[in-house]
Symmetry: C2
Subunit: 233 residues, 2 copies
Amino acid sequence: QVALLDIDICGPSIPKMMGLEGEQVHQSGSGWSPVYVEENLGVMSVGFLLSSPDDAVIWRGPKKNGLIKQFLRDVDWGDIDYLIVDTPPGTSDEHLSVVQYLSAAHVDGAVIITTPQEVSLQDVRKEINFCHKVKLPVIGVVENMSGFVCPKCKNESQIFPPTTGGAEKMCQNLNVSLLGKVPLDPQIGKSCDKGQSFLSEAPESPATLSYRNIIQRIQEYCDQHHFQEEKTL
Amino acid sequence: QVALLDIDICGPSIPKMMGLEGEQVHQSGSGWSPVYVEENLGVMSVGFLLSSPDDAVIWRGPKKNGLIKQFLRDVDWGDIDYLIVDTPPGTSDEHLSVVQYLSAAHVDGAVIITTPQEVSLQDVRKEINFCHKVKLPVIGVVENMSGFVCPKCKNESQIFPPTTGGAEKMCQNLNVSLLGKVPLDPQIGKSCDKGQSFLSEAPESPATLSYRNIIQRIQEYCDQHHFQEEKTL
């Protein structure tokens, strides 16, 4: 059982990417019901509360934090194995609030996404710095948009060049895990736009293999983390 | 004379992209002095206030707004023709504050950047919606990452496919101008990482031609806007 919580309040993309646009949140006796993609995958996003997908949520920090608190307190997630929280970029209200509100729950850690260029890595170093400051473990880093193979001539181009060594070098320097590199595949964008699962649509793509590997490594990390927590309890 | 103000407080990329990393802001009798790239281009960013480029600014909205106010009030920009404000994505504190603090200055308008996929266009529709709500004119939309030409076989790939017609269709539907499309060129990422001007480094690139066109269209818009404002005064 997996729950996916989108706390990008001003730019919620999860409903579209999960094929759930137009869905509404329902109130039940035990709170808000998430929207289910499949039986074992429930989703919550501010997108489900808007009357149109183009509506802007023009809210300052405190209002955003209030909704995040409601998402964590008032949604009846049921009995879940994983709660995945998707955040916007940055180190501000959304990040501080979710870490604070979940502090008693012993969050397993953060998965941090970057692209290969130094301009992105610089932001990611700030995010890692943030995790250290708030004592949130870093599960690892994923390098996205990691090279493109021309469908015609099979030549590989580094469209977002790793001028300073990419995520690999950064992870070595900061002593965090590199969970994997996901190559650019136009089908990824198409699947997101259509709300389809890229992993089902393109099961043979190198990007799919990379995603599967990354998921497995995260699962192993969480299993290990729980085992150690049980030992210390 | 151009001034560039970076109000992405938690992810300032302007110092690196302008080749100004390690520069510091100096206090003068008339306020803070911007950092100059060239004589006619002054820059201000929270990046100049950090002791290391990897330092995280872990601030909630009100503190970010306070710094934006300081940037607008306490920086001695000198006599400038253009003030360009670079914002993070979203429709929250930074955007509300800059529009509010500059409301008496009659801002010319917003230039909005997207990529071709629907997932990005959805966020951009929210930004356009925001501009309408706060009565900020929309100068136009730029489509970034708009196709990639393989350097080996010259075949063009839509790496971020415009599944719903891209920025062009969206601009038609919303009755806003499309300022141009910038193709993917690996040299752009390299120039940003090295703090060099892509326009000087790759003067013949189709992306450079596109940038030049876009700049010209923005200048024309601003000239027109000022002319009309003078007429109404």
